[in-house]
Symmetry: C2
Subunit: 228 residues, 2 copies
């Protein structure tokens, strides 16, 4: 397998390139529009064809590169059917299995940060988007966010995976790139250890975070699959 | 590749089983609910796991087996996003590529019989549902049928495939099982030879066909993905 973790520094967003070495088919998880030239160069350097782009959710802080990549490379966009982005080429739901060459993925619906959040499970790793972050989790105060749902998603749908599963998040704001489920179950400050549901809900209700600066442009653009 | 063409005699419906010999993953195209026990036996006899069921469209004459197969085998249902069956596990659109083990499929949107009709292109063959039938085509007088759209779909999206492509239709009422695009382009009574668009539209407007006897049960059940 070809694997690259790519950081977009303005919003500390991670994009993941995964590709099959024999078929040269590739998928990009959470591509960022401003980084598209970088992805195109990388795809060319590695002689890969881009089959899919996949959004873990409708992002509020940046615009997806899905639209530009589709125009450039004919890739098809994937989102959860509850995300509201009806323009996507594939709308998926919990439990769907997808292949990219010899790579195999399972979609897990992990709502809570948004209603249409998914995590992508792949052999030894899980791409958690903004559901589970390293040492934290995504906010739950807009886009149909729901702290109780997020707690249940993480405990029932992510923490139930094997403890040595690698956790690749959608963002990290402290220079970290990867964790394991064992670490997160033990020491995630919001969700690990003996954290209980009611305490988590109360904590998430009192974060008083500022709105992402570009959300009023980003959300409509992402609901339009990055084609605005 | 493992391939089986299965006839449901009450409605002369064809169901197709395709499976990958090495991974044992299978897909059923247009399964019929009353035939589900037969499919289960066949899957077991061939030691196959059913990854997907795929509908070429929302059928008016029979109820899909997708719901029962999902309950029995955990298969995920696929329909076109314009078909109106929002309950499907994967909603696809034109140009989407899918894999089942080592088998590769391309989805082609071929509206006209219904708005959400697709054909499935796979190496040497195309599964045309009720868009193109052997020597004929699906009716266009309900379910957002549109004879002009059907003519364009068949000429632009199906007849553009190589002439030796095998045509596997959704029905045949005269005991035929397969044709080729060369044959259909030459001698399909409605669409072959020098048939023109206006003549086809006039012909389709004057068929005066009786309604399928079970359509008022079948269509709602299929819009609910066979779970009613």
């Amino acid at each position: 397998m070809i694997f690259r973790q790519l950081l977009e520094p303005q919003t500390s967003s991670f994009t993941y390139l995964l590709a099959c070495e024999s078929t040269r088919r590739a998928i990009l998880i959470d591509p960022v529009d401003t980084e598209v030239p970088r992805y195109l160069t990388l795809l060319d350097d590695l002689a890969l064809s881009l089959t899919y782009t996949l959004e873990t959710h409708v992002h509020a802080d940046h615009i997806t590169g899905a639209g530009r990549l589709k125009a450039e490379r004919g890739s098809k966009s994937i989102v959860h059917r509850d995300a509201g982005a009806r323009c996507a080429d594939l709308l998926v739901s919990d439990g769907v299995f997808l292949q990219v060459g010899h790579l195999e993925f399972d979609i897990r619906h992990t709502p809570g940060h948004t209603a249409g959040c998914i995590s992508i499970v792949m052999s030894d790793r899980v791409f958690t988007g903004d559901s589970l972050l390293i040492g934290g989790c995504g906010r739950t105060d807009f886009q149909e966010g729901d702290a109780g749902r997020l707690f249940d998603s993480i405990h029932q749908r992510i923490f139930s995976l094997p403890p040595d599963t690698l956790v690749y998040p959608g963002h990290d704001y402290h220079g970290r790139t990867v964790s394991t489920l064992e670490e997160e179950r033990r020491s995630n400050s919001r969700l690990g250890g003996a954290a209980d549901r009611q305490t988590f809900i109360a904590l998430m209700a009192n974060l008083h975070l500022a709105a992402p600066p570009h959300m009023h442009a980003a959300i409509p653009a992402n609901l339009a699959c990055g084609t605005l």
